[in-house]
């Protein structure tokens, strides 16, 4: 039955090449921990992706309760944390995932760096990877404000002060992020929320797509 559906779709849309690009390829020995345990260093990229998926899913569930508004943001998080069934676990996954993803990205970057895997012809993918790292840091920065508790508020005040200190464009940047040249408040929270759940994830998905397409095109770097 499944096979029939597949054939029916395949006849019209020709999905076999797509499938082949995604799944039908060989894993060379030097990246396979089953052959050589030290190849576990090749897992960090995959684990980064795995945690990113956790972040996307847990984040989607968090928005079912979270209210991006200074009156209710903290209350909604508190309610989620103390009252909602499994709310504490979902929020915990998103909280810890944010840290673990940075650790995994860091390890993945170090693996690629120390193996010199960024060399020709993979320069472009390295740049895309560094951009992904920046986006992740941006997600961490904006997500930190959302619970609207003291640590969130005061860390953001400091961040915005630093942004303001940049010569020439500092004040503009601050106003753009905070929604007001002086006040860190309602506008700031909604802007950070929008950046955290729409702008940065959109950029992240695009960059991840490029990252993976390039890997499939170029193959994984050979043994050293």
């Amino acid at each position: 039955m499944l096979q029939k559906i597949y054939d029916w779709v395949d006849e019209r849309v020709d999905i076999t090449p797509l499938w082949r690009d995604i799944a039908d390829h060989e894993v060379p020995e030097h990246v396979n921990p089953a052959h050589n345990f030290s190849a576990f260093v090749y897992c960090f990229g995959g684990l980064t992706f795995f945690v990113t998926v956790i972040q996307i899913l847990s984040g989607m569930f968090l928005t079912m309760y979270y209210v991006p508004d200074i009156e209710n943001a903290w209350r909604s998080v508190y309610y989620l944390q103390t009252q909602v069934a499994h709310g504490q676990i979902v929020r915990g996954m998103h909280h810890w995932g944010a840290s673990v993803v940075i650790v995994m990205l860091f390890l993945h970057t170090l693996r690629v760096f120390f193996q010199g895997a960024y060399k020709k012809p993979r320069e472009l993918n390295w740049i895309v990877g560094v951009l992904i790292f920046f986006i992740m840091l941006g997600l961490g920065l904006t997500g930190y404000l959302l619970p609207w508790d003291n640590k969130a508020y005061f860390a953001t005040v400091v961040t915005l002060e630093i942004a303001e200190g940049i010569p020439y464009i500092g004040e503009m940047t601050k106003t753009l992020l905070a929604g007001h040249p002086e006040i860190v408040g309602a506008q700031t929270l909604t802007r950070f929320f929008a950046i955290h759940v729409f702008f940065l994830p959109a950029a992240l998905f695009a960059l991840m797509a490029v990252h993976f397409i390039l890997i499939r095109k170029q193959g994984i770097s050979g043994p050293m």
């Binding site: 060989e26 060379p28 998080v77 673990v100 120390f114 840091l137 619970p147 969130a152 400091v158 200190g165």
Partner: protein
């Protein structure tokens, strides 16, 4: 013909009429045992992923995500700290050579050089050799950078009393709208023993607020008798029954407070 004018398509689409069979890629470049990604390798990867997930969930269960009290912009005494992976930047901006009139150096020049260098690494390190010993400059710069980041993070984190900070900033619902049931027999016991330090509304005076805690009845009984931290032992004077009433009253008030928000 696979390409060019001889190709046959299905109708007016771009789908080729002829099915091409999958021929595994030739990895003769890397001699040894290759393995099909699907399904062989993916199955093993799935196992490794499950182990990782279990570890991750243990972390989540053991340490609930922290939440402090609601943002209070008037709290001038609050010590602001970013999330841990920004601590190194935060620490950098504390040094004389990177703050005040040199702020631009600390906030822009140094991080800009470091991250710019990271991004352009493939163009700065253009040699053919991939092994670390073939490219001593880039590798030692990277090691230097890693040591600097770890050291700065450590410097920033080790001066903070994280436990005291979390304790001071426990999430207490704003306005503490909890109705204190002064008719409760436990309240009378509370009044006699604890009110002087913890306040008539459990809001805290010399001691901390007793709202927003997660102690059990047994634990409160123990604290009342044995004290905790700066709270001296022997604060409670009375019968075992009164002690029970007191602890139940405090726990019930906390449950009430949690439900209201």
């Amino acid at each position: 013909m696979k390409k060019g004018k001889g190709m046959k398509f299905v109708g007016d689409s771009r789908i080729t009429a002829e099915k091409v069979r999958f021929i595994p890629k030739d990895y003769s470049e890397y001699p040894g045992k290759t393995e099909a990604f699907w399904p062989n390798f993916l199955l093993k990867e799935w196992l490794a992923g499950s182990v990782f997930l279990v570890g991750f969930l243990c972390l989540v269960l053991a340490h609930p995500a922290p939440l402090e009290g609601p943002a209070d912009p008037t709290d001038a005494a609050y010590l602001p700290l970013p999330d841990w992976y920004f601590l190194f930047l935060y620490q950098l901006l504390k040094y004389k050579f990177a703050s005040a009139q040199y702020f631009v150096i600390g906030a822009l020049v140094m991080p800009g050089l470091a991250f710019g260098g990271l991004m352009l690494a493939p163009f700065l390190d253009k040699g053919k050799g991939r092994r670390p010993n073939k490219r001593p400059i880039s590798v030692s710069l990277m090691l230097l950078g890693i040591i600097a980041v770890f050291w700065l993070t450590w410097e920033a984190a080790s001066h903070v009393d994280w436990e005291a900070k979390a304790e001071e900033n426990r999430p207490i619902p704003p306005g503490s709208t909890v109705e204190i049931d002064t008719e409760d027999p436990g309240y009378a016991v509370y009044e006699n023993n604890c009110l002087s330090c913890h306040g008539g509304q459990l809001e805290g005076v010399a001691g901390p607020a007793l709202i927003g805690m997660e102690y059990s009845v047994e634990e409160i009984k123990q604290i009342a008798v044995e004290g905790i931290g700066d709270m001296p032992p022997g604060q409670f004077n009375g019968t075992e029954e009164e002690l029970q009433q007191l602890a139940e009253f405090i726990v019930a008030t906390n449950e009430q407070a949690a439900e209201d928000h």
